[in-house]
Symmetry: C2
Subunit: 388 residues, 2 copies
């Protein structure tokens, strides 16, 4: 095991009725929350009504900041910072998926620093403090509700960049799986793919060759996500499957899986961010799906040992995954994505070879900040070409 620090201080309240604890939990954190949320989903399914009642009964005023969309944008972060200040808020409640929570995190930094928040993402500034956040996830996938990472798109310059810091961990996560029951199939699958790739990337890129437990943990999480995800397609209304997926997607990206693995590379994430920066209609999960098998094929020789090992775990039925007619990891993922009606190439989401130079340029910005030296222009262009 390579030396590491593991510290995930998020308090997770997990289960059906945990939302009723919102006012109690909030008391230690602040007196007037900014509630950050998405567009219409919450208002349709009465979650917001429930939260409104809980806060009103506890005499807790709040200010509502609505309208965060997938691939959340910097202009909304600025808007949130202004509203937080104008309304004299002192903490944040983020109710939604990864986009909402990431926006809330960016606001939590912006309201207590004078610099332009975008400088963080460019690696030009750091964080001294943040205001407390409570997350209430309504999707399963990003894991943002229990980690210290965020990804924001600069809609002025069309750049989608990620940033992580220990002060970005939410204080409390109220994870009620029933809030994810009404998720449409596409978002369920997007989340599953994202969570799966959060483990796949460190599994394939880590540097700790003689390590025993951690790669097995990643295998187990990947396998369980795929097993639960497959079952969810049949019974999307199953509370217990939704609970497994919400818990697993948190575990997939909470820092535990990568402990002791040394440096890991999130190259698929790097590549994907350029896709949804190019076209904000491409969701993160879709983008990742469209790159997965092309990227694996491109790297199949270099990563053959680990790909074969994962193959053994996932396909040769070691953990009782449904047996399939193929014994090759790439074919397996290809079939899976096809069954899930997810894109299997970047052509499937409308990208053409003409777009590649722009995608590469985008990647180079993030690769430089993330110090991924092997990601030079030729390499990136070749990968995108392999994913067409």
């Amino acid at each position: 095991m390579i030396d590491f620090v593991y510290h995930n201080p998020v308090k997770i309240l997990f289960g059906r009725k945990k939302l009723t604890l919102l006012a109690t939990e909030l008391k230690g954190l602040g007196k007037k929350p900014l509630i950050v949320c998405g567009q219409n989903h919450l208002f349709k399914n009465s979650v917001f009504e429930q939260i409104n009642t809980l806060l009103s009964e506890a005499d807790i005023p709040y200010h509502l900041f609505r309208g965060i969309q997938a691939n959340p944008v910097l202009s909304k972060v600025y808007e949130g910072i202004t509203q937080y200040r104008d309304q004299h808020c002192d903490c944040i409640i983020a109710i939604g998926g990864g986009s909402v929570i990431d926006t809330a995190k960016a606001i939590s930094v912006g309201v207590v620093h004078d610099y332009d928040i975008w400088n963080l993402f460019l690696g030009k500034k750091s964080i001294q403090q943040t205001v407390p956040i409570i997350t209430i996830p309504t999707t399963a996938g990003s894991g943002s509700e229990v980690n210290g990472g965020m990804v924001i798109t600069n809609d002025f310059h069309n750049l989608k960049l990620g940033y992580a810091h220990r002060l970005l961990f939410p204080r409390i996560c109220i994870a009620d799986p029933s809030l994810t029951l009404s998720l449409p199939e596409k978002q369920t699958i997007d989340g599953m793919i994202d969570a799966c790739i959060h483990c796949l990337e460190p599994y394939l890129s880590h540097q700790s060759d003689n390590i025993i437990f951690q790669p097995r943990l990643l295998e187990l999480i990947i396998h369980s996500i795929l097993k639960v995800g497959t079952s969810l397609r049949e019974t999307p209304q199953s509370y217990h499957l939704r609970a497994e997926m919400l818990w697993l997607s948190g575990l997939a990206m909470n820092g535990l899986g990568t402990s002791g693995l040394g440096r890991v590379q999130f190259e698929l994430h790097l590549l994907e961010h350029s896709l949804s920066a190019l076209d904000s209609a491409i969701s993160h999960g879709e983008g990742l799906a469209s790159l997965l098998t092309g990227w694996l094929t491109f790297n199949s020789v270099r990563l053959s040992e680990r790909i074969d090992r994962l193959n053994l775990c996932l396909i040769e039925n070691q953990f009782q995954l449904p047996v399939r007619d193929n014994t090759n990891l790439i074919d397996y993922f290809n079939n899976l994505l096809s069954e899930f009606k997810a894109p299997r190439s970047i052509s499937d989401i409308g990208i053409t070879s003409k777009d590649i130079p722009r995608l590469v340029m985008h990647c180079m910005v993030q690769a430089k900040i993330w110090k991924m030296k092997h990601c030079h222009e030729r390499y990136l262009a070749d990968i995108f070409a392999a994913c067409l």
Copy 2:
């Protein structure tokens, strides 16, 4: 998954040179630590010298409180509380195994409450606050360095009782696996058995029948502990195996494994505490080993489904454990304990049928506090008889 709260705020600094961060980490917590440690081990292998140098160089005064033994006793807790107060300490560093860390935890409560600390263990008092603790584990097994539990023996009344509270979590754990390199074989095995049973007990007793991931996580941890433990017998000087064992024994008892499982029963722990209360020369690991196969045999019908499932995972080579000539979990453990020269019955550690009434009486005290209603006298006596 059954509703739960998961919150483990311990910051873990894991690796070879992390001890050098001690003074820096201490700065946020206090100005004069009480250093709690065991008998001679630390002084022989220069760990203490290293810590002394680190603190002296940072101009941090401290008071040394030595002499904690296995099965730590209440009288030493009282002594520690007095010394902490007399020496005007304001935080604690615990360097040692589970006994030292548990003593430190009890002191951390005692110094900020007026009541007799033993009332906690009797369920008559609760905790309002504690002083900060840094743990520096020198053994792998109890997991106490990263959790909020403690077990103390009342040496005035010969009672060994456990207690857990969220305020007992250490603030920081500096886990340097090289500090465990010099552990004698017996202590290495004791720790392995303890860690293994920390997962086995919830695995066999939980109430969440349709849960997918968590039992697999427990299987994986149990399997990995046994795999690493077996390898450690051959190469006790392997840093990387020591690192795996230290990390795994923390994971085995940090609250993660039991998340979503509902109520779990630590019955083997209940039984064991009565053994080492009767004879403090019996170590916790030895006591657990002496009960394991008798207890499993006694419960083999009631728990057959889960025993069979674990059997499949551990023995039928799913995870590449060395194949053995038996396909029965109980035989497997019997052979393993025999190979490890660990006791396989309570007779092996000098207990006779005459002791059973006293053991049962001891168990009844803890069973009442832990609300383990099924543990009535007849049941307990029968189990002890089965373990002779």
